[in-house]
Symmetry: C2
Subunit: 428 residues, 2 copies
Amino acid sequence: MKMKHKKKLPKIVIIGAGFGGITLAKSFKKKPIDVLLIDQNNYHNFQPLMYQIATGGLEPDSIAYPVRRIFRRYKNVRFRMAKVNRVEIEKKKLRTSIGNIAYDYLVIATGSKNNFFNFEPVKDALLSLKSIPDALNLRSFIFQNLERSLVVKRSGEKTLLMNIAIVGGGPAGVELAGALAEMKRYVIPKDFPELDLSKMHINLYQSSPNVLDVMSEEASAKTLIYLKKLGINVYLNTRANSYNGSVLTLADGTTFPTDTVIWTAGVKAAPIGGIPANSIVAGNRIAVSKYNQVLHTENIFAIGDVAAHITKENPKGLPMLAPVAQQQGKLLAKNLVLLTQGKSMEEFVYKDNGVMATIGRKKAVVDLPHWKFQGAFAWLVWMFVHILSLVGFRNKAVAFVGWMANYFTYDRPLGLILRPYYRNYKKK
Amino acid sequence: MKMKHKKKLPKIVIIGAGFGGITLAKSFKKKPIDVLLIDQNNYHNFQPLMYQIATGGLEPDSIAYPVRRIFRRYKNVRFRMAKVNRVEIEKKKLRTSIGNIAYDYLVIATGSKNNFFNFEPVKDALLSLKSIPDALNLRSFIFQNLERSLVVKRSGEKTLLMNIAIVGGGPAGVELAGALAEMKRYVIPKDFPELDLSKMHINLYQSSPNVLDVMSEEASAKTLIYLKKLGINVYLNTRANSYNGSVLTLADGTTFPTDTVIWTAGVKAAPIGGIPANSIVAGNRIAVSKYNQVLHTENIFAIGDVAAHITKENPKGLPMLAPVAQQQGKLLAKNLVLLTQGKSMEEFVYKDNGVMATIGRKKAVVDLPHWKFQGAFAWLVWMFVHILSLVGFRNKAVAFVGWMANYFTYDRPLGLILRPYYRNYKKK
């Protein structure tokens, strides 16, 4: 019977066009599945290079790409730009900013957002790096402050405008610190010869005994050396206590006067509403099975930062890393096809291919499963891997040319204050 | 006497880092003049390509460049980012957002801004092209509306979101219309296959009998043919009367439902406050002598769009074009050096090197003093001249590569809604 072929395809709705959601949707290519991908932005962005936007090393189009363009040749994938408010599990539908959306299977790939902990009440006074507008605001803010520091009269005010505090010594904080230190050394003296840069301090605060503590001790130790060489004041075992818009106060009472506090001290998962309370675990993550199925639900799955498969080996779930999301997305596509065919699914097993971070030019730390190394060669490896990862991005070549130019000239090309940014915060 | 060499240099303050101000400041290189350049933005931008930003053909860094970077090797040129409120002629000082600034000689190069005429009361409902944020807002707005038109239910609402009106058929309006028409034909169908593009109308309204009426009749006639070929509805001798946020009404009572009205129908000069009233002429311009000296003042000069040297041949002053500003800037630098040496100045004579405009790819119109031509060769000339004009811009090569890619693929690479834009206007 011909009618058989016209059977309605199972409809899978994916929320989030990050590494997990994009990989998942791509893996459904030519499969008998009707895919709807939803994101509140119309682009996918390459989060690991966000600090390059903030420091003017790259422009947004180098690390962001329109979702629709990624799926031009995918007949079974549609995209909607919308904010998802909550899922109504009983009715198998989503409540969104563009109306209700029904699903047969739902995949939550909504990632993570800043966790400000005790700084939540003053979060509007902080700068951060989680989105492209965040990074562009940070860039404008730094250059606005440099301009202002030329014209303020009081020395204290100058110090305030020039000092920079980074709270959090994970990969984001460390990579940003490295880029800012190089900007201070190689770029600002050329563009602001009137400024006395001895008044500019870049302080990095890390609550634990090591920077980059997700990596090996070897990598952490070397990173600390690199940071100090770049002139960054690194404070280990140091917690930030409060900020009043002008002065950052540490747990031991020490103060640091600064207009610029950049928050990289933690993230928490960003699940949608409507998930059963007993499926939410530490860090706001959604508890999933080994098939990435959300516990206590049917037909709902979660991948990437927002999902946590809690086991004896990983009592907090897997780390919030792009490769985890990508590997889960890939397998889940396969599993959902199996599921719709009434077959049994495959368990997810994470394959750790290593972690790396860069601290300024020619310096990086790389932890591979059986090999750890640091220095200039590590930097080349870092560069190579990141260029390759930008596959599918229009500006792969442009980014590469830009970086190479940076590398040879020790220069950041950009400093346009296209949209001045003022914090929505009244100093006390 | 050694002291003689320490004599204070004459201080020239230039307001505005457009084509005029930048050329003037550059021309003081190694001259015994102390130059202070002021602009409210920290970058110079290449205004003629603004429509490329709006339509996603180029990113801002391709047409904007930090002022400080331009003057890195100029020991006698300093820059301040500030808004100038007014000049106090008696005291020879400026009142600015960063305090008072004294001058020996002042040069006003503040350019022009939108003139909304009878649309002034509804200007917040319009989009425009005068600045990079304007152009980025326009880009976001168009893509936001395309996303929304996919999800609205009523056909009338869809039409409203997809229709585009351009008011003004000068170079800005024509070039923008061409780029939008190509976007509609070659890009939107690929990214929004679900949309019925027969519902999208691009209307261009020109109050006079010709589009591009600053150019030759030959160029105007050919431009009209090009625009129609691209599917643009061109209305000549047509004045827009009013807009209520949803419906544009013409002088003859005809209406056009559209969410997007782009204003390119006129500019007026943007002088600073404090200029004697009897020195302000038609279009808000500042009347100047043949030496670009502001009438009824001493030590104050004006160049570019903001200045008008009224003569029998040019009863409205010279046209508001980049080459006029650049040529005036170059001569004024020479004249100010002569003046500080007590010598007599040279008269300004404008050398018209021609005008050109492009209407989509492979189509342009060029009016040289003794040769007018249109078509594909004109487009190559246009391209060549604009690439050369971007000299001093970091991204000369990047812009060129991007354009070439566009040319071969008939594609606009960009559509990132980095900052959603909502008009600050309540529909009536």
